[in-house]
Amino acid sequence: MEHFMTGLGLVASLDTLLPLFIGTFIGVVVGALPGLGSVIGITLCLPFTFTMSSFTAISLLLGVYAGSVYGGSISAILINTPGTPASAATCFDGFTMAKAGQSEKALGWATMASVFGGLFSCFVLVLAAPQLADIALRFGPIETCALILMGLTCISTVSGGSQIKGIFAGMLGLFFSIIGQDPMTGDTRFTFGIFALSGGVDLIAVLVGTFALSEVFTRIDIVRRENIGSIISCRGLRFPSLAEWRPRWWLLLKSSVIGSFIGVLPGTGSSAAAFISYSEAKRSSSRRKNMGKGEPDGIVAAESANNAVTGGALVPSLALGLPGDAVTAVMLATLIMHGVTPGVRLMVDSPGIVYGIFISLVIANLLLIPFGYIVAKGFAYMLRLPEALLLPVITLLCLLGTYGVRNSAFDLWTTVATGFLGLLLRYFGVPLAPLVIGLVLGMQFEISLRQGYLISHGDVFNALKGHPIALGLVCATALMLLAPLWRLCMRRRSSPCQTKE
């Protein structure tokens, strides 16, 4: 209690609250602008932290982090362009709901799910950080490989009608993740002498091209051929009722647990959490048949999981001094610059700071509601433009967002090329979602697969026997893949019986 009050004392001052407010707003705006994302938001604010106290600096960055992860859902829902990779899964149902005239509702679902996921992970952070850090240490390459394999089963669940085309799209995404330097040896693969490819294909460029530009190309055809006006109208944000939430409480809680847990594991991140959670929802939700066609469950699963990562990601950072991704690495660097050493001793030497961070994250997540409303209103004004003006606005914004990541013209070429590829895939009925899943999870999967193979000397069976966590995950994955086949068999068995009757 004493440490909690110390933390509260750190937060409850204008010097901390004002940067927290500003950071959260900047995070939501930057997250909503396609291609920019958390890292750019954090990088923008970093110079301002040099003159701040350590705690104020961390509060500012936490606000940006929480805001940007949520902000990506706004553009994902309204213009089918994930503002951050973590919101790619939100496009599947969010944009479909927006096309059906339910954009305000979709934004409401995303906002409340994000807030809940973020708050849930805050409580996880404060209650179980040391224990979760211990679990994180038990997660080696074999366990990570099994976990990501579970995420890759998303490919079959989001493939819709054609499983073969979906699996092909997943392989295309995995192939894109292979281009560039081999993660273990540093040798270049599939660069064909192009120097710009030695750094690999930029994730943001592919996401923006695949989702945004392919949508623009498709709309060029539809608008001219069918002579219709703007398809998305939005007046702001509308929260779902308690009655609508009631059948989704379990999904919300489960997705938040998944996100918090995955956030704890260094190197996995909010994108993996969103897809794994989406996959689990697609497997277990009673409304799974509607997922991908505008079902709120898809938004709830993805958004609560990706925001739950924010608190979970702080567990290895604060408790072990291990940053899980670029964002937490910057936050750790900020702490160290201000003389605070993260690690096992932080909880003992400066517990007030840990509780203060927890309270700041709670406030940042609560601020998502008003700031999400404001940014959604801003987007709503933009969507009133005629489509012939709206599409060029979106296109230029997306291209600049891609350019802003590395100031690289090559990324722009990648975006345009994948945009055209995305159009071809859509025209021939190949789903885009598996491509994104393969690209996001590909490199981590390859690293953990090869490391696991080396550790086990190729003896997969004994490796799984000696790693019960991995064995459990592989069994769960097998069940997830076999369950639809089982249901199909049971349905076929019962339908001949009904015919006979």
Binding site: M171, P392, L399, L400, Y403
Partner: protein, 151 residues
């Protein structure tokens, strides 16, 4: 060209690309890399490309068995839009964002169907300036200037 033929060409091309990439993985340069590792750097790519070939083979066979149908699609307009984007990317560093962006905005707007050229030009100019200010002043992300004007 009906949709069936288009799909056969598309799937067949993907199969061919996959086969060429698989052939590429057997290049001598890759064989000499990471020889001390049991799991070479082409282990995972070959696994992925193998599944790629399987899927595209099935897709091609499926397309052959499909009935011929016609799907209307304005390829001309779409390729025009693609051309505008290619022009933007190709000239961004030479013309600078302001000019290249203005051409891109107006070109796309015209292709999509906004047939008021003067208004389109004005809206495009205002938008390009606002976006440039947003990126350079607020986000500290500097956009290319026009080299022809000494930028």
């Amino acid at each position: 060209m009906n949709y069936r033929v288009q799909e056969i060409c598309f799937s067949g091309t993907l199969f061919l690309i996959g086969a060429l990439l698989m052939h590429h993985t057997y290049q001598s340069g890759y064989a000499s890399m990471a020889q001390d590792l049991n799991v070479g750097l082409m282990f995972f790519p070959r696994l992925v490309l193998g599944i790629w070939l399987f899927c595209t083979g099935i897709m091609t066979i499926g397309a052959v068995g499909r009935q011929a149908e016609h799907r209307p699609f304005l390829w001309g307009r779409v390729l025009g839009g693609l051309g505008v984007l290619i022009f933007f990317v190709a000239t961004l560093n030479t013309l600078g964002f302001a000019l290249a962006g203005l051409v891109c905005f107006c070109g796309l707007g015209w292709i999509i169907g906004y047939k008021r050229p003067v208004r389109l030009l004005i809206i495009g100019a205002v938008y390009v300036v606002l976006v440039q200010l947003l990126f350079e002043k607020a986000l500290q992300c500097y956009l290319p200037a026009c080299k022809l004007l000494g930028g």
